[in-house]
């Protein structure tokens, strides 16, 4: 942007580039590596939940209600005597499954609308853009609430509601990428060779859009997890006794004065995962986003 920064760039860049090329991404970004390990630990815990969790997450034990952290129950128990550690571990399953599948729904929908908006022209493009604008006019949580109102509650419904509510941002970035690709020379060349239009889109436009979309997907998983656990926290997402973090936090809210661990333990599990995912997302974006890489 400014004169002075572009003056400074040529001297700084080659040196930085040289060192960038040699060392692995994991050494250069210690925070990223730690965050990736944390996220991987969640995935492992979620996958092997039955083997890791000490108790059945929905087994109620009225002799052990609302106990603080102890040797038998490292994170304490809740108001039904359910072991919080086991529920937190199983909760990772729900959080990750809901997060990943809803992001995939959002990305698929965004890809279709974004491609259509980016490739069409004239009034259709204008109308599609306004359509994207109107999806974006509602924050994802409120959109998800509206979809839940129609669909009802439950894990599958939360996945669909959160997924649909994330279409807007995906559509916008896909459209922006399509706009950049469609003016490239290789597209014009392909068209001059009278390759069928859909084939051009499939072979030449799509591959150039899919990669930045994949980067977006990894970044937005944390947003999907946050929205889905917010829905459960509001009491309109997943239904009890599912071991869902949002639900557990909401339940503990009523007992915060004498059993603060009931909210805090699942809450910290959620917060740690979100922070780890956002560091991982930032790292991936900075490494692989061509727009940011050129600027860095």
């Amino acid at each position: 942007m400014s004169l002075s920064s572009s003056d400074a760039a040529p001297t700084a860049l080659p040196r930085a580039k040289a060192s960038l090329g040699r060392r692995s991404m994991f050494l250069r970004r210690p925070f990223f590596t730690v965050a990736l390990i944390v996220a991987a630990a969640y995935v492992l815990a979620a996958t092997f939940a039955p083997h890791v969790a000490p108790f059945d997450p929905v087994k109620q034990d009225f002799m052990a209600m609302m106990q603080g952290p102890s040797f038998a129950h490292p994170l304490g128990t809740d108001s039904y005597g359910q072991d919080i550690l086991s529920r937190v571990i199983y909760g990772a399953r729900y959080a990750l499954i809901i997060g990943i599948f809803s992001v995939l729904i959002g990305a698929a929908g965004g890809l279709v609308i974004g491609l259509a908006a980016g490739l069409s022209g004239g009034w259709l493009e204008w109308a599609l853009m306004r359509l994207i604008d109107s999806i974006l006019a509602l924050p994802s949580l409120i959109l998800a609430v509206a979809f839940i109102a129609i669909l009802g509650q439950g894990v599958d419904k939360v996945v669909v509601a959160v997924g649909l509510s994330m279409i807007g941002p995906f559509a916008r970035t896909v459209r922006a990428d399509v706009m950049q690709v469609r003016v490239q020379l290789f597209i014009e060349a392909a068209q001059l060779m009278s390759i069928p239009y859909l084939r051009v889109v499939w072979r030449h436009v799509l591959p150039n859009v899919i990669f930045p979309l994949a980067v977006q997907v990894t970044i937005r998983v944390s947003e999907a997890i946050l929205v889905s656990s917010s829905l459960s926290f509001l009491g309109i997402g997943v239904t009890p006794p599912t071991p869902d973090w949002g639900l557990m936090i909401a339940e503990g809210r009523d007992f915060v004065s004498f059993a603060p661990w009931m909210s805090a333990m699942p809450g910290f599990a959620l917060a740690l995962l979100l922070i780890a995912l956002s560091i991982v997302g930032d790292g991936i974006r900075e490494e692989f986003d061509p727009k940011l890489r050129r600027g860095a």
Binding site: M1, S2, L3, S4, S5, R130, L131, D133, S134, L136, A137, L138, P139, S140, L141, I142, V145, A146, I148, A149, I150, G152, S222, L226, S229, S230, F233, L234, G235, I236, G246, I249, G252, R253, V256, S257, P260, S263, A264, G267, F268, L270, A271, L274, I275, L277, S278, I279
Partner: protein, 316 residues
Amino acid sequence: MLRQALGKIAQTLVVLFFVSVASFGLLKLAPGDPIQIMLGSEYSQESYEQLTAQLGLDQPFLAQYADWALRFVQGDWGTSYVARTDIYTYAFKEALPVTLTLASFSLAFAILIGVPLGVLSAVKKDTAFDAGSAVLALTGTAFPSFLLGILLIWFFAVKLQLFPVMGYISPWQDFWGGIYHMILPGLTLSTYFIAMITRLTRATLIEVMEQPYIAAARARGEPSWRVIWVHGVRNIAMPLVTILGLQLGTLLQGTVLTETVFNLPGIGQMLTSAVLGREYMVVQAGVMMTATLFIGVNLLVDLSYPFLDPRLRARK
């Protein structure tokens, strides 16, 4: 410039039209036949058709939409059976002010804390302070607000007993009482924005401080606080306003959660209880209000650029 502004307004109206069609469609997509629900379990085919005609449900979709939109604009939003009031009074006069109070409080917090933090980190770039505030900012943007709210309640209201646990007092009726009740919710909601504004201010100010007019101000011998706070901070106003407009949605969705944590009777509580009570018309009202607010504020942001940046005035 006027033409551009009119174009923006036209665009906004189209978006508003789409949103209203969608939220009208919400009612149509909702499960359950409204006529059956109104008539109960026993009714004749004749009374069914009569009520359908009376409510205009035999009309084509667009005609029904036009009818609905006309009534909506006039403030006839239907009746809520759970709250036992007219939805317009409930949503617009009772819930919306609570949400707006909370939102403006948090916004004020966010600007008053976030901008100075960001300026300090930009000025003390690459020091321990900068690194510390970067870590705080990252944590702040990723930390779930409803958990933060519960932790604040536990620490400040239960342990230290400094603030009330929950409840709402309108600052219009009891100013200090209202503010007192808004401190914890406001802090909860604003954390994300404090973090975001800190990051944005830092990044923008670092760029601004490299501009020639800053060097010129320094060369004129102006004291360094004046260079930073007057010449520097003035130039971050535009990106700041843009981001705040775009993030208004995040602010509104944050109020939904914060209201639930602190038991504030705003749009969030209205929406949640409406979903649980299957009151689609209330959900519709909430959706329409949120979207209109977001669209309206972003139109204002777009139109405000020439006032914030004199260079845009001259060029067009």
